[in-house]
């Protein structure tokens, strides 16, 4: 079985991780930020799966599946918080969340 070298996957996963990180840094909507975090996690997942294929054992893949479940839970908690904010008519903009500082 041939295919692109594992380093290509690694490069892509690193790219995803970076894109996600940049997304977190520049976006203002908490929803989009959660999305960006998901991209970061999926970047890591991709690396895990690629390495698992490379080594030919299942460890990394099992890890990746677990990560997916965890990531979903994390996002759901985030969404829950966003919904709670929406109900209390707080503007969905992380730049406005500045009561705690200093």
């Amino acid at each position: 079985m041939h295919g692109p070298d594992v380093s290509w996957y690694l490069a892509l996963s690193g790219l995803m991780f970076t894109i996600g990180a940049i997304g977190v840094l520049v976006r203002r909507s908490p929803l989009i930020i959660l999305l960006s975090v998901e991209i970061m996690l999926n970047g890591a997942n991709l690396a895990l799966i690629a390495f698992a294929r490379h080594f030919g054992h299942a460890d990394g893949q099992v890890f990746a599946i677990a990560v997916m479940a965890v990531a979903a839970s994390e996002v759901v908690v985030g969404l829950g918080l966003i919904v709670a904010m929406g109900r209390r008519n707080i503007e969905l903009d992380v730049d406005k969340l500045r009561t705690l500082r200093g």
Binding site: V6, L10, S13, F17, G20, A21, V24, P30, I33, L34, V37, M40, L41, G43, A44, N45, A47, L48, A50, F51, H54, F55, D59, G60, V62, F63, A66, V67, V70, S73, E74, V77, G78, G80, L81, I82, A84, M85, R88, I90, V94, L97, T99, L100, R101, G102
Partner: protein, 488 residues
């Protein structure tokens, strides 16, 4: 035929007790009659932490020879055991502190369910023996804590704290995960022992992965410059949650940091000792200096916890048995002092119905002498004053660093301690040297009832703080036994 793992139920018992209680509490919070919910839930949570504590003590006693169990997923040894004892103890005190909090009635069951779930996650986290269990444990308690921070949704600060913690925490977790993936790629294995065995060259993958793993864990220990969430979250979260987070999370993160670095990355020691020393110095500088300007007491204590993370990272950076021993010892009084200090803040907060600042602590020491004196002791303990365990903690950390040959770290530590005296004593001063009358502070909703549960919790913390000074020898022996589980 697939090899089924042998499950050591005893080793899992603290985790199982807590997670089982968590499920039970979820059911209680919807099925039990409204009036009985609060006492019932608190009792179950308290019993669960107590059970976990007993199991953890037994487990520590019966695990003289450490081993990786359940298909090499977790460790059963005294390092894990002692950390679990500490976490379960923190949980127990946290339940006592939480009881008097004016939770909205419909959330009280969920609160305790999440608290026990976070406890279970931490207890599992400290036993992790491979990168997967490490990540799962981390996320397990983190997600529970995200919700706990935001549980009082009527406070704007609480929601904000929850969301901030979630976002930054998610980045931290993602970093840890990516680092784990890189380490996995470099060594082909997830288990700590196998990683150490499989390391040959200092490949870029491994080193990069190590950096990311360190950052992910340093985030949880709230060490600078990864600490910036800490003051905001500690301030915004409900005070009992802050108390639990400040104590138990720090235990988990530090114990695991020491474990993974020593067990999995011995050949990269030249890198991570310096990295941790740098992070620790940054934490001491940032934590202490930033604390000087704080008026909000929870925020001040948050910065103080950043600086203490620095001290405890010194112990890990020393990379010797003495360091491991001093870390374990330091955590004992530290947990007690953090929980106790936040408990006192919680008591004042309930009295005033407003955030506690240095100004409105005035006269507290004379109004509530027991809590006042307790707070005084905790502050002196943070300062490392004799008659509290904090003193031995610092002495031990310093000697570990000295043994490593880094005497200049001691200088940094001593200077940091001197600076910290300013804000710790500021708290004592505002409690005792000012009068409450001139502030005209009226307690909200009449005089607060004497909170027996909270007082018991504070008394327990006081006993541990002062007791760990006098009973230092047995505790050091226990820490010594625990540190033998790490392969130095």
């Amino acid at each position: 035929m697939i090899n089924k793992p042998h499950v050591d139920w005893f080793a899992l018992s603290p985790t199982l007790a807590l997670i089982g209680a968590s499920g039970l509490l979820l059911l209680v919070s919807v099925l039990a009659p409204k009036r009985t919910r609060k006492p019932l839930a608190a009792t179950i949570a308290g019993a669960a932490f107590l059970t976990a504590l007993v199991f953890a003590i037994a487990l520590t006693d019966k695990s003289a020879h450490g081993a990786a169990i359940v298909a090499d997923a977790i460790f059963r040894d005294r390092w894990t055991g002692l950390a679990q004892v500490l976490i379960a103890g923190c949980g127990l005190v946290a339940v006592l502190i939480s009881y008097g909090e004016r939770w909205r009635e419909e959330h009280v069951g969920e609160y305790y369910a999440l608290l026990t779930a976070a406890g279970a996650g931490l207890v599992f986290f400290v036993s992790a023996s491979n990168l997967m269990t490490l990540f799962l444990g981390l996320e397990w308690f983190s997600i529970a804590l995200y919700v706990l921070c935001a549980i009082d949704i009527h406070l704007v600060g609480s929601l904000e704290a929850g969301l901030k913690y979630l976002i930054i925490g998610a980045i931290g977790s993602a970093t840890l995960l990516f680092g784990s993936a890189l380490v996995y790629g470099a060594t082909g294995s997830l288990g700590f022992d196998q990683i150490a065995a499989g390391t040959h060259a200092h490949s870029g993958l491994l080193v990069g992965g190590l950096a990311m793993v360190i950052v992910g864990l340093a985030f949880k220990t709230s060490a600078a410059p990864f600490h910036m969430w800490t003051p905001d979250v500690y301030q915004g979260a409900p005070t009992p949650v802050t108390a639990f987070m400040a104590a138990a999370t720090k235990v988990g993160a530090l114990v695991v940091t020491a474990r993974i670095l020593v067990t999995a990355f011995p050949s990269e020691q030249h890198l991570w000792t310096w990295a941790l020393a740098g992070i620790a110095i940054a934490s001491l500088v940032v934590g202490n200096i930033a604390a000087l300007a704080q008026r909000n007491v929870k925020r001040l204590l948050a910065y103080s916890s950043v600086s203490h993370a620095g001290f405890m990272l010194f112990a890990i950076a020393a990379a010797n048995t003495l360091g491991a021993r001093s870390l374990m010892y330091y955590l004992i009084p530290y947990c007690a002092m953090s929980l106790g200090a936040f408990a006192v803040v919680a008591a004042r907060e309930r009295e005033l119905g407003a955030p506690v600042t240095l100004e409105n602590l005035a006269g507290f020491g004379w109004d509530r002498p027991f809590l006042g004196v307790a707070m005084w002791v905790f502050m002196l303990g943070f300062l490392g004053f004799p008659l509290t365990g904090g003193f031995w903690g610092k002495i031990y950390v310093f000697s570990a660093v000295y043994q490593h040959g880094w005497w200049w770290l001691i200088v940094v530590g001593v200077v940091a301690t001197m600076v910290s005296a300013v804000y710790y004593l500021a708290i004592v001063r505002s409690m005792f040297l000012r009068d409450s009358v001139e502030l005209a502070l009226a307690p909200v909703g009449g005089a607060p009832s004497r909170e027996v549960a909270l007082s018991i919790g504070v008394a327990a913390c006081l006993v541990v703080t002062v007791g760990s000074f006098f009973a230092v020898q047995p505790l050091i022996d226990a820490a010594h036994a625990a540190s033998r589980a790490l392969p130095f």
